[in-house]
């Protein structure tokens, strides 16, 4: 059987050094080939090279789709190819549809451009396609605009548009990024069905677990090169290249608590030395001085009782209670709209609960005026998903940390404690990488020596290997500082790895809670069971 797509020695450059080089692979009809890599690995550029849409200079000894040589094709030939023979499911499901046009128009575009159907026939075909990709009530959905659709429906509409002309090759560039776990599972099932029906699929993803579910063949890219390739099973179970091995090791799914995700040893920096301000009043002075988590986890640092918060008609948080002990992590897992971020804001006393209380270190926290809280604010810190926007754009790293520490003398030591070099102090956060930004955010959060850190999706926008480093760092800090974490994430694998206890939230309510092992090992609630089933895992 001859390959539908054949790529040999592909290189792409944008004037300077090549961003992709020496990439070779074949895709056969009915086969799913995946390219895995982190941001900047060149995987998306490789995919776009097949459509002639890189915007750079493409060279290859072979870049063939069926009988067409893409490298030599005229713009007109390429336009005929796109949407008709090659369907593209774009990255960023939420922004891939024109917000000003009805969904039906976007789906009908390939039909209009490549087919000879009348407007009425196209409309009928759009409804057919929407049904095919599992959109309920297609007639209504077709007339709506993207912003009236949920993320999952939008991604289904994008897929409907890509398969409108029944292309022989589907390129899916991060098709499930930013989607909820259960939605992601549905999209992956749909792609699998299309493959079974005979389409060739090129899947681009940063997520090894997603890839392992669909692809029979795997390419691992790093720095614009393929570092390893082979049958998926083989690559994942017996990686030959150290980069592949580290990528697999970085996946937190199914990894025990405190097990390291990177090969770096636990931080050697004596964190105690950088944490300046000793609290004048130690409410926990009766507890043992040792930082052995096992010995002081009886002390309750934070508790919530019957928290409710309503926005208009939406009950964002509905009767949530929990208790967090010293040195432990309480994971909160839920999909978008489950109320987990609102819960975080209530705990941080940034919002006032409609009813219920939060108690911090044994004293009332939400029920008292802000002036009574201010002195105790340093005891509870926070890190967010978007670390960058939590920094004043005018401030350098040094000023941010000095402000949090109350003096700049300890800034270098603080930076080292989070694994950053002191030279970074002079820079502004926007010139740092995503991982470095999150480390600075963590440094700022631990500077006032808090007892509790609220972590709201702290690793969700980071690459897998960076995510692993940040998670390891959080583990180190927890053990050396005796921190307690309220760890919020949509990612079941991450929560499972990080938490001692867990709350599963849905529509503002806690559907299940308990020790992590018990909840995930033997889920009682159907929602939890579904969530666990939908989470992709490594073979």
């Amino acid at each position: 059987m001859t390959a539908l797509v054949s790529v040999r020695d592909l290189a792409v450059d944008f004037g300077a050094a090549p961003v992709v080089s020496d990439v070779s692979f074949d895709i056969e009809p009915g086969q799913c080939v995946a390219i895995v890599g982190e941001s900047g690995s060149g995987k998306s550029v490789t995919a776009r090279a097949l459509l002639g849409l890189t915007g750079g200079t493409v060279t290859a000894s072979q870049l063939r789709f069926d009988t067409i040589n893409i490298a030599d094709a005229s713009p007109r030939q390429l336009q005929r190819l796109r949407g008709r023979d090659i369907g593209f499911i774009s990255q960023g499901a939420l922004v891939a549809l024109d917000p000003l046009r009805p969904v039906a128009r976007e789906i009908a575009d390939p039909l209009r451009l490549h087919g000879s159907l009348t407007a009425a026939e196209r409309q009928a075909r759009v409804l057919e396609l929407l049904t095919q990709v599992g959109v309920p009530n297609p007639a209504l959905r077709a007339s709506q605009r993207p912003d009236e659709l949920s993320g999952g429906l939008r991604q289904r509409a994008v897929i409907a548009s890509a398969i409108a002309m029944q292309p022989r090759l589907l390129i899916a560039d991060e098709p499930t990024t930013a989607l909820d776990t259960t939605v992601q599972a549905g999209i992956l099932d749909l792609l699998e069905r299309l493959r079974a029906e005979g389409a060739a699929i090129l899947l681009i993803s940063h997520d090894l677990a997603v890839v392992s579910r669909l692809a029979s063949h795997l390419l691992v890219m790093s720095g614009g090169r393929v570092v390893e390739s082979g049958p998926t099973e083989e690559v994942l179970t017996d990686p030959q290249h150290p980069y592949t091995a580290s990528l697999i090791a970085a996946v937190p799914i199914g990894r025990a608590r405190f097990e390291r995700l990177t090969n770096r040893p636990a931080a050697a920096v004596p964190v105690e030395s950088v944490v300046m301000k000793p609290h004048s009043v130690e409410p926990a002075s009766t507890e043992p001085a040792s930082f052995d988590p096992a010995s002081f986890d009886q002390y309750e640092v934070l508790s919530a009782d019957g928290l409710c918060k309503r926005y208009g008609s939406l009950l964002a948080v509905d009767d949530v209670s929990f208790s967090l002990h010293r040195g432990r992590t309480l994971g909160i897992v839920g999909e978008s709209g489950s109320g987990k971020t609102t819960l975080a804001r209530l705990v941080l006393a940034l919002e006032r609960p409609d009813s219920g209380d939060v108690t911090l270190l044994g004293e009332p926290w939400t029920g008292v005026p802000e002036s009574a809280r201010r002195a105790r604010r340093p005891r509870i810190g926070a890190i967010y998903q978007d670390a960058l926007s939590s920094f004043d754009p005018r401030w350098s790293v040094r000023r941010i940390l000095a402000d949090a520490l109350g003096g700049s003398a300890a800034v270098p030591a603080l930076l080292e404690s989070v694994g950053l070099t002191p030279e970074l102090a002079a820079r502004r956060p926007r010139y740092l990488s995503g991982g470095q930004q999150q480390r600075v955010a963590i440094a700022r959060a631990i500077a006032p020596r808090p007892d509790i850190l609220v972590c709201d999706e702290p690793v969700s926008s980071l690459d897998v290997s960076v995510q692993a480093q940040v998670l390891d760092l959080l583990d180190d800090l927890q053990r050396s500082l005796g921190l307690s974490y309220l760890f919020i994430s949509h990612d079941l694998g991450v929560v499972r790895h990080m938490s001692d206890d867990v709350l599963v939230m849905r529509d503002g309510r806690v559907v299940e809670s308990g020790p992590t092992g018990a909840v995930f090992g033997a889920p009682q609630h159907d929602y939890t069971k579904g969530l666990i089933a939908a989470t992709p895992r490594l073979p």
């Binding site: 340093p378 920094f391 004043d392």
Partner: protein, 265 residues
């Protein structure tokens, strides 16, 4: 390219500042000296920009008018931005009812577009340099106020203000250390762009005979005087107008340059 343009703007601005602060360096002659035998001379080597109806050298007058003209632009901008700051901060920082009231009030002012508000002010207080300067300031204030208000609202909702609250920083700390400095950054751009606009507006009023009056060596007044002779002696209006344009272009280029830099950093 953008950088180069910004530097051209800076150079032009420096030239204008020299002309404003030490006009004698660039044009040693007396801007008010009349010479009836030399009236209405076209531009030549003797009189670079020609002469006016009394034989005064237009080049000398334009250079010596820089100070007064820039002062009008700067004062009008100061008035406009000052008023806008009060309204913008009140609306952006105050309670909801205050924002509502201020926004409605600005909406009413917007119904008097541009020059109209200035003309209304002049009809009440009469023409002249001071009234036309205030009029321009008043007329530009609603636009600035709207920009400042929306900027304040954006910064007020910024996650870094919340991060400061989590660190236990009080309202005043957040206001002085975070909010105001971040609003001020865009204010600087507004001021630079605004000075050019104010000079253009004030000169339009002068041209219509409602601003500075001849024989003062001020660009607007020179325009006003030259208006009568527009058909036959174009240089009387052209060169003062050219300098108005140069200052407006310079302020626009520098303002845009600053804007780009703000965007980058």
């Amino acid at each position: 390219m953008k950088r180069l343009l910004a530097w051209i703007g800076v150079t032009a601005l420096i030239f204008l500042l020299i002309a404003a602060l030490a006009p004698g360096l660039l044009a040693p002659a007396d801007p008010l000296a009349i010479n009836p035998t030399q009236s209405f001379r076209a531009p030549s080597f003797d009189h670079l920009f020609g002469t006016d109806e009394s034989g005064r050298d237009i080049y000398t007058r334009v250079i010596h008018g820089t100070g007064a003209s820039l002062l009008i632009g700067v004062s009008a901008t100061a008035i406009g931005i000052g008023l806008a700051l009060v309204f913008g901060l009140l609306a952006g920082l105050g309670p909801r009812w205050l924002d509502f009231g201020t926004t409605r009030f600005l909406e009413v002012l917007f119904a008097f577009p541009g020059l109209l508000l200035a003309l209304l002010f002049i009809v009440v207080y009469g023409p002249g340099v001071i009234t036309s300067t205030i009029a321009v300031g008043l007329a530009t204030a609603p636009g600035y106020a709207r920009i400042i208000r929306s900027r304040v609202l954006v910064v007020r909702r910024a996650p870094y203000l919340e991060a400061a609250a989590v660190l236990g920083r009080g309202w005043w700390f957040r206001l002085w250390r975070h909010l105001l400095p971040n609003v001020a950054g865009s204010l600087f751009v507004l001021v630079t762009l605004g000075i050019g606009q104010s000079i253009v507006w004030a000169s339009s009023l002068s041209y219509l005979g409602l601003g500075a009056v001849p024989p003062a060596a001020e660009w607007g007044a020179m325009l006003s005087a030259g208006r009568t002779y527009l058909a036959s002696f174009w240089w009387m209006t052209f060169f003062p107008g050219l300098f108005i344009m140069i200052s407006a272009v310079a302020s626009t280029l520098v303002g845009r340059g600053l804007q780009e830099r703000n965007r980058d950093s």
